[in-house]
């Protein structure tokens, strides 16, 4: 919140004074009615030249400010979204689309035989005229007119307009990368697209209306909170309305302005004013992390998640098996093993192969120069095949790495394959290596054997340990989640042994090995049956049922439209680990709501002590004892309470927008902390605030006199 966006939000804040909008917040609507009543009373007092006119006018002004501050908080929150919407809208320029129309086939000649190689006509139509199911063609330089699936071809697409990511992405027919988004640009090649969203209902349109808050509906929890706030408001309306005859009975009837002031101070204006801003800001925080939610309800649900379903690959691990160690056989020089392993992988372009070379060369790439020298044209490259399950090189005589007099074969591969290879050539698998292979397999790693054959005998030199590497910091994050009461389940296609090892290393609570997409759905159903709320990520079409069944389903933007359609959130960065952040944002939203409600309600204690003695101390001097803050005069006391009430809204706007700081701790810790800050703080703060304001207000001559 800075001065600029505050000023920018002012006009909107005034527009929101429309009673038809105000009625959605019962608390602030009550303040609006009160302000109108006070305005009328002030005008009347001014007309008859009453002594209390000055006081009434000042109170009235502050009541109007209270309403305005409430609207302002909402307007500022909306304003932040507006800026993003504008930049999105720029991408939504109207484009002409090349729509494919089938050549008219005369009735009776049902086009048999032409189906496979149909001839098409094209027509140029405005993008806004496209309907679902239309087929359009886009070539390099074209803006894609609307959301759709690629049905033919492959192209690189610039999606920076929605993701902010400048690197182009590949979109191709079939598979999990077939969806394209309207407003993005084809950079190369030609694709044929089937349109999946009509004009005005595209992803971009939905995004714009979401960030603008145009389609904002109250979430279930917001409704529940508003019910509570409405009931508190009614209780205080009753309390203040009945106070009039009661005070009259005691011949101490306060003016309507004072009664309204009391009412406004008592009803939960602080939280009532900030509820919309908190909701919008929560959505905004999600958008800032490049996640789009289809509804505010999904954000709220994210805070309630008790089970996270995480794909192993890409989320928990890097996904590629990497070499992590070389284990030499007894009597074999470690350096020889390393060099041989490197040689065997020089021509291997798979990630595993490259990781062996990387590990062999070390971080400083000492052996890099030699490496290029050894891959001379006379070297035979033995490619990996599913039959041999080995790869390597045949080094000719005279090659720098071949000291012998016959061709030197260098191989690395699956343990059983290499063992077989060695035994056929007079070699054997030493016991210690066999043990190492067992150990590595047992911990979920993949053992590769390295062997050489110099024409006489094969030697198994050692083992390369390949492992699926868990991303750094995952264990800590899962521990945090556990502290928050969230159970993590890892889903992987690996076998049970591998899965168990990775699960133990990453510290997840449970895992499903050899999982199919159906298994995901089954896990979700089982968890939900047990009353838990499940979140998951997915990108493939076969993930769609599970995404739809999950309470929070986050689709990767790179995924298919089916996945995006089924999910209730889309991650534009396609980063599965973000699920953890999303849960945090959901929790933060609820915490902010709860904390400010507590603060608002706790404030009432001090306000009673400010206003009640001010109302009746003239009639019953003993009630002056309740003026424990020692406020200067009844007028200054009431005014100070009203001013404090208005200013506290402004003071808390930044907190509402930013959200109460969220820590991954247990519920008990979170509660004791927030109860201390917002509960106890809420009781104490107004005593100090009102006293300070009173010191200033009592400087106004007509207010200070007793």
């Amino acid at each position: 919140m800075n001065l600029n966006n505050t000023l920018a939000a002012l006009p909107l804040a005034f527009r929101k004074l429309d009673p038809r909008q105000m009625i959605h917040s019962p608390v602030m609507f009550t303040v609006l009615i009160g302000s109108i009543v006070c305005t009328a009373v002030s005008v009347q007092q001014l007309a008859i030249g009453s002594d209390s006119a000055v006081f009434s006018i000042i109170v009235t002004v502050w009541l109007w400010l209270t309403v305005l501050f409430g609207n302002l908080s909402e307007a500022i929150a909306e304003g932040r979204g507006k800026a993003q919407a504008d930049s999105l809208r720029a991408a939504r320029t109207s484009v002409m689309a090349r729509r494919r129309t089938r050549a008219l086939v005369p009735a009776g000649a049902s086009g048999a035989g032409r189906e496979g190689n149909a001839e098409y006509e094209e027509e140029l139509v405005p993008g806004t005229d496209l309907e679902v199911g239309d087929i359009v063609i886009c070539e390099a330089g074209d803006l894609i007119p609307s959301d759709g699936d690629v049905i033919e071809g492959l192209a690189s697409v610039d999606e920076s307009a929605i993701t902010g990511e400048s690197a182009p992405v590949i979109r191709e027919s079939g598979g999990d990368r077939s969806s394209v988004t309207g407003g993005t640009m084809v950079l190369s090649d030609r694709i044929v697209i089937r349109i999946t969203a009509a004009s005005g209902k595209t992803f971009l349109d939905r995004m714009i209306s979401l960030v603008e808050g145009a389609t904002r509906q109250k979430t279930p929890n917001e409704i529940a909170l508003n019910v509570l706030l409405a009931s508190l408001t009614i209780v205080f309306v009753v309390a203040v309305m009945t106070l009039a005859p009661m005070a009259n009975f005691a011949s101490a009837l306060p003016t309507p302005v004072v009664l309204v002031a009391l009412l406004v101070c008592l009803i939960p204006t602080t939280i009532g004013a900030l509820v919309p801003a908190i909701g919008i800001a929560g959505m905004d925080r999600l958008i800032q992390r490049n996640v789009l939610a289809t509804s505010g309800r999904a954000v709220e649900t994210a805070g309630d998640i008790t089970t996270l379903l995480l794909d192993k690959t890409g989320t928990i691990t890097y996904g590629n098996r990497r070499a992590v160690a070389f284990i030499a056989a007894d009597g074999v020089n470690q350096q020889l093993l390393i060099e041989t392993a490197r040689l065997s992988s020089l021509a291997d372009e798979t990630p595993e192969g490259r990781s062996i070379v990387d590990l062999a060369e070390g971080p400083e790439k000492q052996a890099a120069q030699d490496a290029t020298a050894t891959l001379t044209p006379d070297v035979d490259v033995i490619e990996f095949s599913a039959v041999t399950r080995m790869s390597g090189l045949n080094l000719p005589v005279g090659h720098p790495a071949n000291p012998g007099h016959s061709i030197l074969e260098v191989r690395k591969g699956a343990a059983s394959a290499v063992e077989h290879y060695a035994k056929e050539r007079g070699g054997f698998l030493p016991q210690e290596l066999e043990n190492a292979v067992q150990t590595i397999s047992g911990t979920g790693g993949t053992p590769l054997l390295v062997a050489t054959y110099d024409g006489e005998r094969a030697h198994v030199l050692g083992v390369v340990h390949l492992a699926d590497v868990v991303k750094p910091g995952m264990k800590e994050r899962f521990a945090e989640l556990r502290a928050m009461g969230i159970k993590t389940i890892m889903i992987t296609g690996d076998n049970k042994v591998t899965a168990a090892a990775i699960a133990a290393e990453a510290g997840v609570d449970d895992f499903v090995a050899e999982a199919t997409p159906e298994d995901k759905l089954a896990v979700i159903k089982a968890e939900q049956e047990a009353g838990r709320l499940v979140a998951m990520t997915g990108d493939g079409t076969n993930d769609a049922p599970a995404l739809a069944a999950a309470d929070v389903g986050v689709a990767m933007n790179s995924g298919t439209s089916a996945a995006k359609e089924a999910a209730n959130m889309v991650d534009l960065d396609s980063d599965p680990t973000k699920l953890i952040d999303i849960v945090g944002i959901g929790k933060q939203l609820l915490i902010t709501r709860g904390s400010l409600t507590t603060f608002s309600v706790a404030n009432d204690v001090a306000k009673y002590f400010a206003i009640v003695p001010a109302l009746f101390a003239a009639t019953f001097p003993g009630l002056g004892l309740l003026n424990i803050m020692g406020l200067a005069s009844p007028e200054s006391a009431i005014l100070s309470a009203v001013i404090f009430n208005a200013l506290v809204i402004v003071a808390l706007v930044p907190l509402a927008l930013r959200g109460v700081k969220y820590r991954a701790v247990s519920a008990a810790k979170a509660l004791s902390r927030n109860l201390l800050i917002f509960g106890l703080g809420g009781v104490i703060a107004p005593f100090i605030g009102i006293k300070l304001i009173d010191l200033l207000v009592s400087l106004i001559p007509t207010i200070a006199q007793r």
Binding site: V227, A239, F249, G303, G594, V601, F620, G622, L626, A668
Partner: protein, 551 residues
């Protein structure tokens, strides 16, 4: 006034020890009573006679309809019985009761309020007292028990709208809980000297020649359930300040014990029924904290007052001192009892204000039989809602989500009583002819009216006795306050129970707000104080505070 701190502390200590020893066994007995599947022979006979199917599991709406139908019939029977007293047996020569008084009394006893707009000695014979009023003392308390049991079932059941069987709960509450305890209580009271006879009022001529009127009647039997069922309607007009109703210091302490024993045992029942004793202990802690704090404040307010210069003030039990009165006045207003052993109208202003504040708290510490615990659980729902948000979860209580439908019911619940109290008081003070029923001058007159509506809407039944509520205007308004104050909250509680029972159970995790332990107790206490009592701050300022705070 002279307050013996030693006397107060001793009596408090005795109460605490006895209640601490009894609340778990009694709570266990209560839980077994309401969860058992077996019917006693006498119960089965009753069900057969009345055509009730004891196996029928009632939807919350059916449960509520049964409860309302039962209560309406009870009111009609009580009303007609009083009108027909002249032709009914054991009327001791007393005739028909004034219809306004009869109406108010009928409503009062069925709603567990037991506001006494009549003077028993001159209005009701022991036929009506025993056969109608005492019976309602049992039944209205059993209704309260049934409601809280149904609410607890709402928490423990899943995916059903059925809450059990009202007729079975009512019968068990009466026959298995209240009746045996009342028999024991009555015997102990007789031993302390409370009278129990069939003799009517007899007039003796003393040696001095003066005539003395000695009242008689079946007092002990009615007295026991008056207190056990947190009813409060005394056999005599002076209630527990009458020497035949409450003869000694021990009987006075025993009566306070009878008031508190069931309400303080209900949390233990609750804990057992929800399968987590800690839940019960937490609620109990909040109740005990309020009770101890209020008793201490009451004692202070009485001790600090030296208005009329006497060591024991007017309206107090002169023989026993003020300590038993401080204890009794607190217990009777923190529960929905309303029996008195001191004239509350004569309490020092701040002590009288405290008695009102006790009721305004919603009578939750420990509250009436059943009503105290369900009132406390409603506040716990609010605490869970706010606390749940503060830990970042949409709120859940004992595995049930607290969403908009639940909050609507809870929000209405917390609206009912303050609205009744404040509107009733405001209307009365605005109409001079009604306000004239409270003869006292200035703030005290206002307090009398405020006290009357606070007592009626909270179903307490005690009064600042200066007020006359026999006239049609006040009798009707107070009867309405009692009716709405009793049955609207009950309807909301049962609807809430139904909506909770419908949900499936969500397992608790470390991310769930724990509804046990000191932290939640603090939250619950704070919410109770701010949401209920503070609403009345301005009204209290104009009454007791204006009278009691002097510069």
């Amino acid at each position: 006034m002279d307050l013996s701190i030693f006397s107060l502390a001793t009596q408090l200590a005795v109460l605490i020890v006895v209640l601490a020893a009894l609340h778990q066994p009694l709570g266990k007995y209560l839980a077994n009573t309401f969860t058992s599947h077996k019917h006693l022979a006498v119960e089965s006979g009753l069900y057969k006679l009345s055509g009730v199917d004891p196996q029928a599991d009632q939807h919350w709406k059916v449960y509520l309809r049964s409860l309302l139908a039962f209560s309406i019939v009870s009111i009609v029977v009580l009303f007609l019985g009083q009108l027909l007293q002249g032709i009914l047996p054991f009327n001791q020569g007393l005739g028909a009761v004034d219809p306004w008084v009869a109406m108010n009394t009928a409503v009062s006893f069925v709603t567990n309020t037991n506001w006494q707009t009549y003077v028993p000695e001159t209005t009701l014979g022991f036929g009506i007292q025993m056969m109608l009023l005492a019976v309602q003392n049992f039944l209205s308390a059993a209704v309260g028990l049934a409601v809280v049991v149904a609410l607890i079932r709402g928490f423990t059941r899943a995916q059903t709208s059925n809450l059990g069987n009202f007729w079975v709960d009512l019968t068990r509450g009466t026959l298995r809980v209240l009746l045996p305890l009342a028999v024991i209580g009555a015997v102990v009271l007789m031993i302390t000297g409370v009278i129990q006879n069939w003799g009517g009022t007899s007039i003796h001529t003393l040696v001095t020649g003066a005539q003395q009127t000695v009242p008689g009647g079946p007092v002990a039997s009615q007295e026991a359930i008056k207190l056990l069922g947190t009813n409060g309607g005394g056999y005599f007009n002076a209630n527990s300040a009458h020497p035949f109703e409450n003869p000694t210091a021990f009987s006075s302490l025993f009566q306070v014990f009878l008031i508190l024993v069931i309400p303080f045992s209900l949390p233990a029942m609750y804990g057992r029924m929800v399968g987590d004793k800690r839940q019960g202990y937490t609620v109990l802690t909040v109740m005990v904290a309020f009770w101890l704090a209020s008793t201490t404040l009451m004692a202070w307010a009485i001790a600090a007052f030296n208005g009329n210069g006497t060591s024991v003030g007017e309206g107090f039990e002169q023989r026993l001192g003020v300590a038993p009165s401080a204890l009794f006045a607190t217990a009777t207003t923190l529960t929905s009892t309303g029996a008195v052993n001191v004239a509350h109208d004569s309490l020092p202003p701040l002590a009288g204000g405290l008695a009102m504040l006790n009721m305004m708290l919603g009578e939750i510490a420990p509250g009436g039989v059943g009503s105290g615990l369900y009132g406390m659980l409603i506040l716990a729902v609010v605490a869970v809602f706010i606390g749940g948000l503060m830990v970042g979860r949409t709120p859940e209580f004992l595995g049930k989500k607290i969403g908009a439908p639940q909050m609507k019911l809870v929000a209405l619940y917390i609206l009912v009583t303050p609205t009744l109290v404040l509107l009733g008081t405001a209307i009365t003070v605005a109409i001079p002819s009604l306000a004239a029923a409270a003869p006292a001058e200035g703030p005290h007159g206002f307090s009398e009216i405020l006290y009357a509506f606070t007592s009626a809407a909270n179903n307490n039944g005690s009064a600042f006795g200066g007020i006359t509520s026999a006239g049609p205007g006040l009798a009707t308004m107070l009867a309405l306050a009692m009716l709405i104050g009793r049955f609207l909250p009950i309807a909301l509680v049962l609807a809430l129970a139904g909506s909770l029972a419908k949900q499936r159970k969500i397992p608790a995790t470390t991310g769930t707000l724990a509804t046990h332990g000191p932290l939640f107790a603090v939250l619950l206490g704070g919410i109770s104080l701010i949401l209920t009592a503070l609403t009345y701050f301005p009204a209290l300022a104009l009454g007791p505070a204006a009278e009691g705070l002097l510069k």
